[in-house]
């Protein structure tokens, strides 16, 4: 099939998708902008660390500095003029955007005519995409709660006192990588997938493929126990139940194992990463048990998302653990 540019344009130029297109440029730009300043500071830090005299006397910022200058300046006008300028620029941008692009308005709401695909606004598409990998109670309720709580515990588990109030990369490698993986690698990426890749029926369409609502996906998703061919019906006579009952229980019990193995392997991996360098060992020693447990738990749970994505997309595995009440 020929590369369908029109399809790409149609998605990218949908007025409500313009912000995510903008974010595609803004996120890398600001990432670069932050890291550039971080690297500049890291160079300064390297100089100060190699030269004890400089550490005492040198100005510890990359900004210009003259001993004659005051450390603080008047808010009015030095800060507030910037604020007013930015406000004007934002207003102009907003005006230009509003004059050139109209807010969408579809047909009146009609419960009898389904939209295909029915998509949430772009900023929630990460969560909607998660519905592919997890049941709704996890994707729609547990995961958002974990994200919110996970963000809120960051200040209480990050025991690294360095890098407070200045950009740096070297002094905070681990936390920066974690945040970038979470924010860019998971959150933004899933939104991008939800916006550009997911077409009718929430099917996967590569860029350039036409969104064909008639397409049928033949991929059959299996559960992990099916992959392993777990059949517990032979247990039936032992427990005096029917074969079906025994099979359900066997599946439920089997599912615990991969989960436990995942938690153990992930914990070892997380622990290895958290104590890899001399510096991270030092930070590790500063942490209380509660901090450690909280941090490891959240890191492991965060890791479970890409693992589940991989299992589903690459190995077409739907559930790892199937119980009569819920499945994961």
């Amino acid at each position: 099939m020929p590369f369908d540019w029109r399809q790409i344009w149609e998605v990218a130029s949908a007025p409500d998708n313009v912000p995510i297109v903008a974010l595609l440029f803004l996120a890398p730009f600001y990432m670069w902008y932050a890291l550039r300043q971080g690297i500049a500071n890291d160079k300064l830090i390297a100089i100060l660390e190699s030269d004890a005299q400089a550490a005492k006397t040198k100005y510890r910022k990359t900004q210009e500095w003259d001993p004659k200058w005051e450390r603080e300046v008047h808010t009015w006008p030095y800060l507030m003029r910037m604020e007013f300028l930015v406000a004007i620029l934002v207003t102009v941008l907003l005006m230009a955007w509003s004059l050139t692009l109209n807010a969408p308005l579809e047909e009146p709401a009609n419960p009898n005519v389904t939209m295909n695909p029915a998509k949430a606004p772009w900023y929630f598409l990460g969560l909607q995409e998660m519905l592919v990998y997890f049941d709704p109670w996890i994707a729609g309720v547990v995961m958002p709660t974990l994200i919110i709580v996970g963000l809120m515990v960051i200040p209480y588990i990050d025991s690294n006192p360095l890098g407070n109030g200045y950009y740096t990369y070297k002094q905070r490698r681990f936390s920066i990588w974690t945040f970038l993986v979470g924010f860019i690698g998971l959150w933004v990426l899933m939104i991008v997938i939800g916006t550009f890749i997911r077409g009718p029926g929430w099917m996967w369409f590569w860029p350039g493929q036409t969104w064909d609502a008639e397409r049928v996906d033949y991929a059959v998703n299996r559960n992990l126990d099916q992959v392993f061919g777990i059949d517990g019906s032979w247990l039936a006579p032992i427990f005096h139940t029917t074969k079906d009952q025994a099979a359900i229980w066997a599946r439920a019990i089997f599912g615990i194992f991969p989960l436990v193995i995942f938690f153990i392997v992930a914990a070892i991996l997380v622990h290895w990463v958290c104590t890899r360098t001399e510096f991270s060992k030092k930070i590790y020693k500063r942490m209380s048990l509660l901090q450690l447990v909280t941090m490891y738990t959240f890191l492991i749970l965060m890791l479970s998302l890409p693992i589940k994505i991989l299992l589903r997309l690459v190995f077409t595995i739907k559930y790892i653990w199937v119980t009569p009440w819920f499945s994961i």
């Binding site: 974010l23 803004l26 902008y33 971080g38 660390e49 100005y59 808010t75 934002v90 809120m152 500063r286």
Partner: protein
Amino acid sequence: MPEENGDGKSKTGVLEKAKDSAAALRETLTEKAKQQATELKEPEKTQLYRSIFRVKHDEEPRNRALSVLSNVFFHLHPAKVNRDATKYNFTWGMGGITFYLFIVLTFTGVLLMFYYHPSKIQAFRDILYLENDVPFGKLLRNMHRWAAHLMIIAVWLHMFRVFMTGSYKRPREFNWCVGVLLMVLTMLLSFTGYLLPDDQLGFWAVTVGTNMARATPLLGNEGPGGPQMGMTPYNDVRFALLGGSIVDANALLRAYIWHCIAIPLIVAIFLGVHFWRVRKDGGISGPAPVMLESEIKEERSPRPVILRPSGMG
């Protein structure tokens, strides 16, 4: 004045007297008018101006400080700030931009409310009316829509900046948490607004979104433990959100009230806390002098509370 003529001859005629006082009056009036005109050249000296602004706006350090401190809007700021924090490159102005967009949204939102009825019969037509008949209605709607999207981008980038500068570290842990709540509220604000045009886009987005609430553990009728808790489609958490079992008139009204009243009020309160804490935590965290690994101190336990007097930083 006749008495002051000094020549001893006082004028007696009534007419004369009147003429004299008229001349005198003319003289003082022109005098006053001239004075007034010169004063207008320096409006900051007028009583009106001073009653409003209370301080002179000149380059005196004292007055520069006072113009910030004595203005209810400006005094969110300290009188002086870290010289390097006034550049764009540290904060990217993202918090400020987010706040500005919130103000723009409040302003355009109130204007939109003049034209909008949250009812199934009117809502969609109101949008059509707004787009086609209300002067600048289309621009108004567009601005509200795009400012909302921009605010979400800005709040994410603000969080990103705060993370990358390590500004959530002591003593700003709590303000980071307030920020996280603000971000969630910002997204909810956008989401509740999505339903209000009552078109297919909003309807299905909210249908998809609230369908997840069915699956809430214990509180949703399809969630684990939900049925055991006695949850049905007519009493679970989704029912509470929608005011019914389907997205319909009650859902529209609820979305409207959350969107236009409840969440903006909650956001305003949290914003107050957020800004107040920025000040109490010692102002913006940087750009701070870099710290070296060799300077890490032993963790003291219990950790000392860092309090700074207000006005500093």
